[in-house]
């Protein structure tokens, strides 16, 4: 079972470059999330989606954008990368608001 798949696993960007982190889930979950995890800081919610065509900001959305054109895919776009965006990014999905989060393996991004 694939579950939640994230690509790429590692990426190095230069300041000012842009990129998209891909996330796909095969569990037919309506809810999808993007988190970032910094050392000693836990998980911070960037954006989330409750279904195709619906997205909303989380706690730390600045510098990021998302789209949800299908139930399966929830890409995260970084525009004009900054060193503060160096982090590990996790995509997660859930069958509902109160349900378990299923996480991908993470994408480690370094901005130099």
């Amino acid at each position: 079972n694939a579950g939640v798949t994230q690509t790429p696993k590692f990426r190095i960007l230069k300041i000012g470059q842009s990129m998209t982190l891909q996330c796909a889930q095969d569990m037919n979950h309506n809810y999808m999330y993007w988190y970032r995890q910094d050392p000693g800081m836990g998980l911070k919610l960037i954006y989330y989606s409750v279904g195709a065509g619906i997205t909303d900001k989380g706690e730390v959305p600045n510098g990021y954008n998302v789209s949800r054109s299908t139930t399966e895919d929830f890409p995260l776009r970084l525009e004009l990368a900054a060193p503060s965006q160096t982090s590990v990014y996790f995509c997660a999905s859930s069958p509902g608001t109160l349900g378990e989060l299923f996480f991908g393996e993470g994408s480690r991004l370094t901005v130099l």
Binding site: M41, T97, L98, E100, L101, F103
Partner: protein, 113 residues
């Protein structure tokens, strides 16, 4: 934004010892989840507690939800090296018709053989 405090931040113990980690908030949770995260991987759900005073056991792990639903604890009996990892609690808060899941900063556990 709701705050969720976890303690201790780091814990290093010998194999066979017992330990307890704590998760506290000044707000009431609708429910609380515990996750374990191993290096290079995403968090994996261990348990969800919903009712105040609830106790759940998962082999050597015992989870307790406070009566007032503002705190939770995870107790591990006879820790093993395989228990090593980052333990995260996540509280679900509800209000004004919406739900918000907030993660604590985690407890990094190392079990030394």
């Amino acid at each position: 934004t709701q705050l969720l405090e976890q303690s201790p931040q780091f814990l290093s113990i010998q194999e066979g010892e017992n330990l307890t980690v704590y998760c506290n908030s000044s707000s009431v949770f609708s429910s609380l989840q515990w996750y374990r995260q191993e290096p290079g991987e995403g968090p994996v759900l261990l348990v969800t507690v919903v009712t105040g005073g609830e106790v759940k056991k998962l082999k050597r792990l015992t989870f307790q939800f406070g009566d007032a639903r503002k705190d939770s604890s995870l107790h591990i009996t006879a820790a093993q090296p395989g228990d090593t990892g980052l333990y995260l609690c996540a509280g679900l808060y509800s209000g004004a018709g919406s739900y918000q899941l907030t993660f604590g900063k985690g407890t990094k556990l190392s079990v030394i053989p």
